[in-house]
């Protein structure tokens, strides 16, 4: 699979008032092949900007981003992206949405429909392949987006707070679905979230950003799949406390003197 490397990456833009804003500043990061990395931080810290830079949707002002040593030059189906907002094309039926990327790449119709069906079945939407997106719930639409991105067999999977708008139960179901697909296909994942519990459940590594910079990078060595019990282990709790402090929620954490 793919190793993603960011070297001294920076991204700045001018606000309408003319002020220069550094959304991402001097970020260097290596995400190893098959690794599941969660990028966490308060709103406006540059997480989504960084993800868009890796997706190739925006060009970095400084530094270089490469996948397996090759500098990225724009978006590619090798770096699939699941957006926070609904991105599923409302004018295409479910199956056409899932097979869209394959069609763009010239995969023959029978083959692409077969692949799309397979992924729709995997995400539990085998019976709605002819439905319009307007007929699906928010959770189902996210499943379509996940099926679509996996149908393209990405080497890198980028996810921008994909489940942020979902209800608690649907969110937990989708976490399990994502982990199942990730375990099967093992893409390298960069998952943006502001939810500490979500990051603890999913990540091999949690990278914390603040004001455009990486301020913490911690390995989560808890055994997979994580459960309510494993997430209550002292190691998990300790990670969570530090992460909450990073997010400015120190008042939720008991005062400890022993640093991690």
């Amino acid at each position: 699979m793919a190793e993603v490397e960011l070297r001294n990456v920076g991204q700045s833009f001018r606000r309408s008032g003319g002020a220069l804003v550094e959304a991402v500043a001097d970020v260097s990061l290596v995400i190893r092949s098959h690794e599941f990395v969660c990028l966490i931080g308060p709103s406006g810290c540059g997480k989504t900007t960084l993800l868009q830079l890796v997706a190739g949707l925006t060009r970095a002002s400084q530094g270089q981003i490469s996948v397996d040593g090759a500098a990225i030059a724009g978006p590619s189906p090798e770096r699939g992206l699941v957006f926070q907002r609904d991105s599923v094309f409302p004018w295409m039926r479910t199956i056409d949405n899932v097979s869209y990327g394959l069609k763009c790449r010239g995969v023959e119709k029978t083959k692409r429909i077969e692949i799309a069906r397979q992924y729709l079945r995997q995400v539990g939407l085998g019976d709605v392949e002819r439905s319009w997106p307007r007929e699906l719930s928010g959770g189902m639409l996210k499943r379509v987006a996940v099926a679509t991105v996996f149908a393209n067999s990405p080497r890198v999977l980028l996810m921008d707070e994909p489940f942020a708008a979902l209800d608690y139960v649907t969110k937990l179901q989708l976490h399990q679905l994502l982990l199942t697909l990730w375990e099967q296909h093992r893409p390298t994942v960069l998952f943006v979230t502001h939810d500490v519990d979500e990051a603890m459940l999913l990540a091999d590594r949690i990278v914390v950003m603040k004001e455009g910079r990486v301020v913490d990078d911690r390995k989560i060595t808890l055994a997979r799949r994580r459960t309510v019990e494993s997430l209550a282990l002292p190691e998990a709790v300790a990670h969570k406390e530090v992460l909450l402090r990073h997010l400015g929620l120190g008042e939720l954490v008991q005062d400890r003197t022993a640093p991690l």
């Binding site: 997706a55 190739g56 949707l57 724009g74 978006p75 590619s76 189906p77 770096r79 699939g80 992206l81 957006f83 907002r85 609904d86 991105s87 599923v88 094309f89 409302p90 004018w91 295409m92 869209y100 990327g101 763009c104 790449r105 319009w132 997106p133 307007r134 679509t148 393209n152």
Partner: protein, 290 residues
């Protein structure tokens, strides 16, 4: 009762009321534009004497001689006059409409290709859109004469301007997220235009199409006012010279009927293209907006 049936019954009721009001006005105001020609002719006159008088515009053939050749005014001659003049007007209209839509759409898409070209044409497009179209008719006549081409090109110009600005606006309003989603899936620019921009812009473009249909009818009749030898616009102009209010009103009713048919046909044709939309958005409101 189904909502659509109730809606149709209401519309029909409104039409009946309007027709009754016209009849009432004809009784209350029995003035004449010229001797023997009522200013507000009642329905009993419109469907008999007035309709029969349209036979004057039949140029002969199919075994029915023209009035100018000494033939009688007949209902068959009147019907043929309406059909042949409607055909001529429709041909000019649909040629111009097709040309205007095609050129406006292609030019709009081409301009929307880049942010810079959109910025460059934004101001000229706004200026052209606000220009009074009817003021251009004499110029088109000088350029092309009172010919089929001149009239069709005038319609094309009027429709093209609306369609061009409508397309540029509609493309500008396509959600970035869908374009980005397509890009991350490996879609080329052409593929994005075909599978994202065109379907995404269609709901917004639909109001431009409705507006274009109305404009096309106005433009073709206006173009026929000056120098056309056939067509419904030419009948109205001649009727106006001689104060034949009844003929003008009757032709206006035919135009209303044709315009309603074109709207209905477009609605039917576009239904399939908006099948994906939530029902409440897919049904245009009474002003034609999606």
């Amino acid at each position: 009762m189904k909502r659509t049936t109730a809606h149709r019954l209401t519309s029909f009721g409104v039409l009946v009321v309007l027709a009754a009001l016209w009849q009432l006005a004809s009784i209350m105001m029995p003035y004449e534009s010229v001797p023997g020609e009522p200013m507000i002719p009642g329905w009993q006159i419109l469907v008999t004497r007035t309709f029969l008088s349209l036979a004057d515009y039949w140029q002969g053939g199919l075994g029915i001689p023209s009035v100018a050749q000494g033939g009688e005014r007949t209902y068959a001659g009147a019907a043929l006059a309406v059909l042949s003049n409607s055909w001529d007007t429709s041909l000019r209209l649909f040629t111009g409409l097709t040309l205007g839509v095609a050129v406006g759409l292609v030019a709009g898409l081409a301009v929307s290709w880049s942010k810079w070209s959109r910025r460059i044409v934004a101001l000229p497009a706004q200026i052209i859109r606000t220009f009074p179209m009817l003021a251009l008719i004499p110029m088109f006549q000088l350029w092309f004469g009172a010919t089929f081409l001149g009239m069709a090109l005038f319609v094309a110009f009027a429709v093209g301007v609306i369609f061009f600005t409508g397309t540029v606006n509609a493309v500008g309003n396509v959600s970035d997220i869908h374009v980005d989603y397509a890009r991350t899936q490996g879609a080329s620019r052409i593929q994005i235009y075909r599978s994202v921009i065109l379907p995404a812009m269609f709901p917004e473009l639909r109001s431009s199409i409705m507006l274009s249909l109305g404009t096309a009818w106005t433009a073709v009749i206006a173009a026929e006012f000056l120098g056309a030898q056939t067509g419904l616009g030419q009948i109205i102009v001649f009727a106006q010279y001689f104060g034949y209010v009844g003929r003008m009103f009757l032709v206006a009713l035919f135009l209303l009927f044709y315009a309603a048919i074109t709207y209905a046909l477009f609605e039917r044709a576009s239904r399939r293209l908006t099948e994906w939309m939530p029902r409440e958005l897919a049904t245009p409101d009474r002003y034609g907006a999606p």
